[in-house]
């Protein structure tokens, strides 16, 4: 199989890479670009640990070919903090102890960011449905949902 040359934008940086035709975006991020934040949980789109944002929509990067990234705008967990300043979602996940082992956390953060980017004031039900494609096997969902609610309130400028 011959390699495919891909030009894309990842976390506001122009990026070029070569990949195989059957190589997933997740494998490109992790194995070729050194962006190890997205995790491979299931590899079949069930667990959400590889969630990234592509052209504004949260997707499972295990279900995207690397070649499909051509001309796209991709956000990964590595671009979430602004230098050493954490995103409010990251801060609130820490404050609420919304993570234990951390494997699901990058996916949850990217999915939650995509939600708050389009809906700054989601209801608890909307948060739970939106995050239903992200599986956590140790922390439990309640702390995660509280962290997202708290981050959303802070981002709306409401007093804690």
């Amino acid at each position: 199989m011959s390699s495919i040359a891909v030009s894309t934008t990842i976390n506001d940086d122009d990026v070029e890479f070569l990949c195989q035709p059957d190589e997933t975006l997740l494998d490109v991020l992790r194995n070729r670009l050194g962006l190890m934040g997205a995790k491979e949980g299931c590899g079949t789109g069930d667990c959400g640990a590889c969630s990234t944002i592509m052209d504004g929509r949260v997707v499972c990067s295990c279900l995207v070919l690397g070649a499909e990234a051509q001309g796209k705008t991709i956000e990964t967990i590595e671009g979430m903090a602004n230098g050493s300043e954490l995103h409010p979602l990251q801060t609130k996940f820490i404050e609420h102890a919304a993570l234990q082992c951390g494997v699901c956390t990058p996916g949850f953060l990217m999915a939650a960011k995509a939600l708050l980017d389009t809906n700054p004031n989601p209801t608890e039900t909307e948060i739970r449905f939106w995050l239903a494609g992200n599986l956590c096997r140790c922390t439990g969902y309640d702390k995660i949902v509280r962290a997202v609610q708290d981050a959303a309130a802070e981002m709306r400028g409401e007093p804690a």
């Binding site: 789109g45 929509r57 997707v59 499972c60 279900l63 070919l65 499909e68 995509a114």
Partner: protein
């Protein structure tokens, strides 16, 4: 395996027609990429159609809503006119998978993957949707119901692919609904699915009905006996009962871990009655 991303429909059909071995269309990829990870998967060619103009667009025309083959399900719910005209179709498509899947999965993929349990397909059949099929000898149209021929197989010929779904402009007092049964609250495969579209007369009697069943046979089925039980009547308990019974009689499900034959035959009647009531209300029936 080769990956190709043609810019025109003609280039895409030529690639598919020339392929010697198995080839696949890539739009949302939520089924295809899962299959690609299996050891048995073998393909000569993947044709990504998303660079072809129109594939990602929803266009309202005199023929109805033309929904390109690469429109993700999430985009359907963002289209106000489509949601107003065909809420049942949009709801059915939005039942597929998680937020992440919704950002990629397409109704054409749901149709051409040809699972008997595909959620959007009964809703599309009930809505009398058609598909535009591109092929080496030009474009043809077909009814959605005629695309799947059984689990995993379609009536598409070599070199052909579905370029768009055409949902008619809903005329007069028309409403649609889709309901499915799953053992969880979301993100599961339909055990039974029912799509209903009703058009009403001025006096709120049913002028026409289309009732389509999913997951209770090898492919989606349009139940004419069920429609006949409603046409000409108000939506009385007796008419609904007869319609539901016709659905139960038409269903030919399998027994599996998700539901028995008896369970599915009963539930299909219940869901058909409920979906008909929702479609009736949406059509403006009182």
């Amino acid at each position: 395996m080769r990956y190709e991303r043609p810019d025109t429909i003609n280039d895409a059909t030529a690639l598919l027609a020339d392929a010697q071995a198995k080839s696949f269309i890539l739009a949302g990829g939520t089924d295809l990429l899962v299959r690609m990870q299996s050891d048995e998967f073998a393909a000569e060619l993947i044709v990504d159609i998303k660079s072809i103009p129109g594939m990602g667009d929803i266009t309202q025309t005199d023929d109805g809503f033309v929904i390109g083959a690469a429109v993700p399900a999430a985009a359907l719910s963002e289209h106000n006119a489509l949601c107003a005209a065909w809420p049942g179709v949009v709801e059915a498509a939005n039942l597929i998978g998680s937020t992440q899947i919704q950002g990629r999965c397409t109704m054409v993929g749901n149709l051409c993957n040809a699972s008997p349990a595909a959620d959007s397909v009964p809703a599309l059949v009930a809505a009398n949707a058609r598909v535009r099929i591109a092929g080496p000898s030009g474009t043809r149209e077909a009814d959605v119901v005629d695309i799947p021929t059984g689990p995993g197989s379609t009536s598409l010929e070599k070199g052909e692919f579905v370029e768009a779904i055409v949902l008619p402009n809903a005329d007069g007092k028309t409403g649609d609904a889709y309901l499915r049964f799953i053992p969880r609250t979301e993100m599961d495969i339909a055990v039974v699915g029912v799509g209903v579209t009703l058009t009403l007369n001025e006096d709120d009697t049913v002028a026409s009905a289309r009732i389509a069943l999913g997951a209770v046979g090898p492919k989606v089925m349009l139940v004419e006996d069920a429609a006949a039980a409603l046409v000409g009547n108000a939506l009385t308990d007796a008419a609904l009962e007869a319609m539901g019974a016709a659905c139960s009689a038409a269903a030919s499900p399998i027994d599996d871990k998700r539901g028995t034959v008896a369970f599915r035959k009963q539930v299909v009647g219940v869901l058909a009655r409920r979906a008909a009531q929702t479609a009736y209300t949406r059509a403006g029936g009182k």
